[in-house]
Symmetry: none
Amino acid sequence: MAQAIDERTARRVARTDSRVQRRRRQILDAATEVMSRTGFHATAMQAVADRAGISVGLIYQYFGNKDDLLLAVIVDILEDFRDQVPAAITAAGDDPVRRFEAGFRICCQVVDAKRHAVNLTYRESHTLSPAGLERIKQLELETVEPIRLAFREGVATGVFRDVDSRLVVQNLLLVAHVWALKHWHVAQFVTLEQYVEQELSLLLASVRVR
Amino acid sequence: MAQAIDERTARRVARTDSRVQRRRRQILDAATEVMSRTGFHATAMQAVADRAGISVGLIYQYFGNKDDLLLAVIVDILEDFRDQVPAAITAAGDDPVRRFEAGFRICCQVVDAKRHAVNLTYRESHTLSPAGLERIKQLELETVEPIRLAFREGVATGVFRDVDSRLVVQNLLLVAHVWALKHWHVAQFVTLEQYVEQELSLLLASVRVR
Amino acid sequence: MAQAIDERTARRVARTDSRVQRRRRQILDAATEVMSRTGFHATAMQAVADRAGISVGLIYQYFGNKDDLLLAVIVDILEDFRDQVPAAITAAGDDPVRRFEAGFRICCQVVDAKRHAVNLTYRESHTLSPAGLERIKQLELETVEPIRLAFREGVATGVFRDVDSRLVVQNLLLVAHVWALKHWHVAQFVTLEQYVEQELSLLLASVRVR
Amino acid sequence: MAQAIDERTARRVARTDSRVQRRRRQILDAATEVMSRTGFHATAMQAVADRAGISVGLIYQYFGNKDDLLLAVIVDILEDFRDQVPAAITAAGDDPVRRFEAGFRICCQVVDAKRHAVNLTYRESHTLSPAGLERIKQLELETVEPIRLAFREGVATGVFRDVDSRLVVQNLLLVAHVWALKHWHVAQFVTLEQYVEQELSLLLASVRVR
DNA sequence: CATGAATGAGCATTCATTCAT
DNA sequence: GATGAATGAATGCTCATTCAT
């Protein structure tokens, strides 16, 4: 049994080749699109295949099964977050407050760009295997780590209060996510820019020394 | 026997056919239990019936179909929130800050008591019909309304900054929910009490006038 | 997981009720018919359902899955063998040779009556789970046991040579099965009656003392 | 090395494009191996290709489809039988009894050497097309023909009773096959050598004149 | 010759829902 | 009111087969 699975896994095409990369992207994009809109459970593999313009069978050559596809989709989204945050922080210069602000802003922007995908992440994480869950926990921590460090710098330089940095960045990330989670509500009375600025104001007030 | 007496008692108390009410509760509790643990899609109606100790057919006589049952479960949870908040605020006295604090505390306590149910609410809302969705939006607003009013009082008396009260209570509620949503992470380094106090400190700092 | 399976198993209808017994028979007969003709792997559950005049789903309430259905079919056939042999031997009187002969004759008759089913048994046993395999081994041994005892009696009374009784009955059963296994060939030049008598002659010659 | 020499020898013997022959063998051996172990239906063409160290596509250039491959495998096994029997009989000298014995012995030895393959033959014959089925019937008859002739000689010289030679060789062949078919049972209480000698004793007793 | 990516029909299994009792 | 046997549409997944390279 285990051997059979190994064989099948091995047959999944190697990741290096560019053609393979293109196919993976194609499937991943289709899956993200359909699953974000329809929800994981309500999404039929056929629907993903249709959206990608390929056959069902092919999906199974790139992703072993539906759960693996979900994991890949979520990881793909989270990697995007993780990769964009450091760049934005670096670009913000040396001031810890500026860096902290930049961290929040980029999070909100990415959330806005991938609103449905973020919702998918929230809703369907519990479907993942323990290993998959561990993977995304790790990615989320990696994502906020640069922001957390910026906050710690601020504490060191005396602009921020010495509160638990883990809670601070957790709050920060969730406030960003709310733009997706409660979009139906929030977007009724503020634009993205207003949301970002007002929340940033609250966020900074909560941690700044008086 | 004891049951027979209960039935008669119940009939006296609430004239609205009590047997129906009891059945509804029985099903609702079973559904909440099973769905919270297993997730909506992974929950079979049979499993709910088993848990409630009745037949599948009976569920359909009280709740038209599976989606309606989900809506009822979520509404039931949210009504609990809505009903508990005002009492806690009233009990906190007249000071707006005290009332605001009490609002946050009760939210966290209810979340902790119904951790899985809160997660269910977050994950499966998107499954609901537009009408159902509207219903729960309304309930959520009703829930935070007393807290929002306490905040507005604080603004009026000059202890709180005049920021958008809708965002403030949204953040407050979210932070309470995080105790359920990210429990696997947060609970690793803080207890509920510590979480409540530290988050309260951040929350108040974010809105207090300096 | 294990619990979930248990629950499902438990839901499979209790065997006592006569209605249930009738359904089981109905499905079993249909499955035997279709699988014997088409082969196990080539048989779709839908085909069994069609043949039985019921829906696919119902099969799964009586037999957990396709493999279990196969086991039930094979066991059903073998139980028939096991139940018919002792009666025939008893009816043959006290003479060991007569009893031995009767054992062979009844085997051939049952094989002839269930030719396709016997072939199914031979072909698909290897598909069974270890537990299922053990079950049918046991049934086969129970079937030949009365014949084996008749043979041992013959050895005791001095009419049969003292050779390994297990091999003798194995050969006996095999020769009976050959009427099904090689029917396409054998039936071309002998009738069942001729086959039985000629093979019986060989069989007795092989074990009789000279 | 030995293989290389064999290859060269083969090339000298049969000029018919040796590369093709080698490929056929390679695929046939792989298919026999995998199908015997796993069963025909449970064997994926990919698995055969993997075992042979080639691509799936190539199998289809040598054997039209999966059923044809099965036929080729079974024929290959049966040809092996057919080719080994005459040699063994010839080597046994002129005595009909000796020749008959030699026929049984070689059958048992080949069965033992190709136990799984023999089982495959039994289990999967019914999958074959009518034409294929005819082919293997013919091969089986060819296989036992030399043994049947030895028996007839014995009848002519008066050592064997004049019973239907077709039934006799059929029994003989099946008893040999039982070593494969019921190996799990028989091998528990006799070795191959014991099995051969004891069955031979029964076989001879069944046909010898007294 | 040889490859293996791509296809898509086919099948086991589940489960929401109904309805006769 | 209450049951649970019966239905059958829906879906994940496999694998024989093809064909462009």
